[in-house]
């Protein structure tokens, strides 16, 4: 595929997405001029880009869409729900065309056949209806962009002010008005028509056209001219200056490409691997320093090696952080298609639903974010299909007619928690119990013995589907088990909680990325494990006399509080040695609670990259990943929260 096409494919997706986001926002905030401009620009740029290739059908549909948006901007057409639908349908079709282009280099024939109906749905040619509009008049913002480009600087608002010919008679004083304009950075004036000869010149008729740029907020500028709205055009510049539609298309693509550097993730991964190896080598220096120190006269060399290791330590740390930063992207990127999915589903199901997204700027490794969409989509469909009630049912229950889906992201140490909550009917554990027994997933006795949380967990069992009638949405034979498998593959966990009648929350706990962690290496019997230092608050020595047994458990008093004690060997299912004499206890802070973990010994501290588990180890509970020690040994890194929880 040629480079231009490859770039078009990447950018077209962004532009389609951006335009759809804008249109969805306009559906609720119909007067958002900036959104409208942004949608218009995106469609315009898309149209221009398709012109570079032999894609007449795409070009024509986009041209129509651009026209329609242009008329909306000019105020000669309105943007109603059917129009938004038609525009979004065109954009989604473009998205599919781009998929085709990426897959086989051409748009499929069936796809192209849809162009006609889509274009027709955009409606009659409004241009003929609104004949008489001055060319390049109100709808165009080319003048504003040209002005901003010419003057440059930090302008946020461009203004064109054509006082009415008769305005002096109505008491207007245009220059006095302009003098009140805040943040003025440019002002020019031209006669609207060439000055007549002095004998024909009427000093009481205005023949002036002003252009101005201001660095003040849009609202402040609008406020000044609120009494002469029909004589001014005020254009917020914002991002407009970045891709001026007035410029030739080729320039557009260039501008976009200049904003960032698109790097093949494989190159970054290769770098990351190298950094990992560098660290392993660096860690090996510690052993070398220890070995030299016992040689005759080796103390001096040993110290030098230790100093060199310190430096290397700092540098590799910085290098690693830098490389990782390039892989971090906001989780919101995985959510971009969700609003239109919710909108689409809420229409199809007849369940009006608002999607509220919080924390979408939190960043995580690209490998995690890229994989987040599928499981979320599935959970969302589930929530809307099964969780959220019909409007009638909601009315009966005294709930607002519009249901709420909340997607929240929070950072918790090295993990992100992505939770999706609905305010629907919740899950009745009894139904799940009955269904699980009916499907033969558990025996009646076993089901009765499960507590509610464990019952909800049955939802994740393979082949579980509780919906009485399978809908075309979520009951497609893919159950929540698919979500759990997917999340486990990413090194995460999924949990569900529900309050009958009030709603259901599904939470995904995922690693932020390949974690560069300070590990504490501890030994239990002959085994050695890595424990993330982050969770360790302190280490203490506890005599076994001061341990109080509480039923099956143990606890001891540390300063002001009682701390439960757990044996790491027990948690890992190792042969029980039992505590005796002086014990080494790590005090961990997990979910804001302190817990003591008894280990046999603390070996050393290292800083390393923890790799998520792969292959057969995938999904092994309590293990966060593996790391390679300086001597080549593989160390299992424990996920204490999971191990204890």
């Amino acid at each position: 595929m040629d480079e231009l096409m490859a770039q078009f494919i990447v950018e077209a997706r962004d532009l389609v997405q951006g335009a759809i986001d804008d249109l969805l926002a306009l559906e609720t905030e119909s007067l958002d001029v900036a959104r409208l401009d942004s949608a218009f620009r995106a469609v315009h740029t898309l149209k221009g880009s398709t012109g570079l290739f032999d894609l007449p059908a795409l070009h024509s549909a986009l041209h129509k869409a651009e026209d329609n948006l242009g008329h909306v901007r000019a105020g000669t057409a309105s943007l109603d729900a059917p129009q938004i639908d038609a525009l979004i349908a065109v954009l989604e079709w473009i998205d599919q065309c781009v998929d085709d282009l990426e897959g086989g280099g051409v748009v499929s024939l069936q796809r192209l056949e849809r162009a006609g109906p889509l274009e027709a749905a955009l409606g009659v040619d409004i241009e003929t209806v609104a004949d008489g509009l001055p060319p390049g008049g109100a709808g165009s913002i080319a003048w504003a962009l040209a002005l901003a480009a010419r003057i440059g600087g930090t302008a946020t608002v461009a203004l064109r002010y054509h006082p009415h010919t008769e305005c002096f008679f109505s008491g207007d004083d245009p220059i006095a008005l302009l003098s009140r304009m805040p943040g003025l950075i440019h002002l020019s004036v031209e006669p609207r028509a060439p000055w007549p000869t002095p004998d024909l010149f009427d000093p009481f008729r205005s023949n002036l056209a002003f252009e101005a740029l201001s660095a003040a907020p849009l609202g402040d500028v609008e406020a000044i001219f609120r009494l002469v709205p029909d004589q001014v055009e005020i254009v917020p510049l914002g991002a407009a200056a970045v891709s001026p539609p007035a410029k030739p298309v080729a320039d557009d693509t260039k501008t976009v490409a200049m904003r960032g550097l698109r790097v093949d993730p494989a190159r970054i991964d290769a770098l990351l691997d190298l950094v990992g190896e560098l660290m392993t080598t660096k860690n090996g220096l510690a052993g070398l320093a220890a070995a030299t120190s016992v040689l005759p006269g080796g103390a001096e060399i040993s110290r030098s090696i230790a100093v060199a290791q310190k430096d290397l330590d700092r540098l590799t740390g910085a290098l690693y952080g830098g490389v990782l930063q390039t892989r971090m992207i906001p989780v919101g990127q995985a959510f971009r298609r969700l609003p239109r999915m919710v909108r689409d589903l809420s229409r199809r199901l007849g369940k009006p639903t608002d999607l509220v997204i919080e924390g979408d700027t939190i960043e995580a490794d690209k490998s995690i974010v890229d994989e987040l969409f599928e499981p979320l989509l599935h959970l969302m469909r589930n929530g809307m299909d099964h969780g959220i009630e019909s409007a009638a049912e909601r009315f009966e229950a005294g709930k607002p007619a519009t249901a709420k889906l909340a997607l929240q992201v929070a950072r918790e140490g090295d993990h992100i928690i992505v939770s999706l909550s609905d305010d629907g009917r919740g899950i009745n554990p009894e139904h799940i119990r009955a269904a699980a027994i009916a499907k033969g997933l558990v025996s009646g006795d076993r089901a009765a013995a499960l507590d509610d949380r464990e019952v909800l967990d049955l939802l994740f069992a393979a082949g579980f589907s509780t919906a009485a009638n399978v809908s075309d949405l979520s009951g497609r034979g893919v159950g929540l088990d698919a979500v759990r498998t997917e999340v486990a593959r990413l090194g995460g966990t999924v949990s569900i909680s529900s309050r009958p009648g009030l709603g259901t929350t599904t939470a995904l706990r995922l690693p932020v990325g390949f974690a560069m962690t300070q590990l504490l290496i501890v030994s239990v019997g002959a085994e050695r494990y890595g424990l993330p230092m982050q969770a360790v608050v302190e280490t203490v020595r506890v005599s076994h006399h001061s341990v109080t047994p509480i039923r099956d458990n143990r606890a001891f008093v540390l300063r002001d509080g009682t701390i439960p004690l757990l044996l790491l060997g027990d948690l890992l299912g190792l042969p029980n040695t039992g505590p005796s004499g002086e014990m080494t206890v790590l005090i961990l802070a997990i979910a804001e609670q302190r817990v003591g973990i008894i280990v046999d010994a603390i070996a050393e501290r290292i800083e390393t990259i923890t790799r998520p588990l792969g292959g057969l180890l995938t999904g092994m509970p309590g293990i966060a990943g593996t790391t390679v020690l300086g001597n080549g040994q593989v160390l299992l890194v424990l996920d204490m929260a999971e191990l204890i929880g």
């Binding site: 006082p163 002096f168 207007d172 004083d173 245009p174 220059i175 006095a176 302009l178 003098s179 003025l184 002002l187 020019s188 004036v189 006669p191 000055w195 002095p198 010149f201 000093p203 009481f204 205005s206 023949n207 002036l208």
Partner: protein
């Protein structure tokens, strides 16, 4: 306050309302070579500035109003210079 011919120059002084545009125009038409001194100008209506733009005399002086000084005077000089150039 007023638009008066003072020797070779027309002086615009004080605040001038829209109605004085006509007086300014006839003075300029009668004295096409006169320059216009705005150093004592106060708040001057757009109509007068428009007369100056249309007839493009040489406009001199630094009015007290900073907005006029910074934004309008350069426009007057522009118009005048362009007129001279043609």
């Amino acid at each position: 306050m007023s638009v008066v011919l003072d020797g070779k120059a027309i002086a615009i002084t004080g605040n001038c309302g829209v109605e004085e545009a006509e007086a300014l125009m006839s003075l300029l038409q009668g004295n096409p070579d006169a320059s216009v001194d705005v150093s004592a100008a106060g708040s001057v209506h757009t109509a007068l500035w428009q007369v100056l733009m249309a007839l493009s005399p040489r406009v001199v002086g630094h009015p007290l109003d900073p907005f006029i000084c910074q934004w309008i005077m350069p426009l007057m000089r522009d118009v005048h210079d362009r007129n001279m150039a043609t």
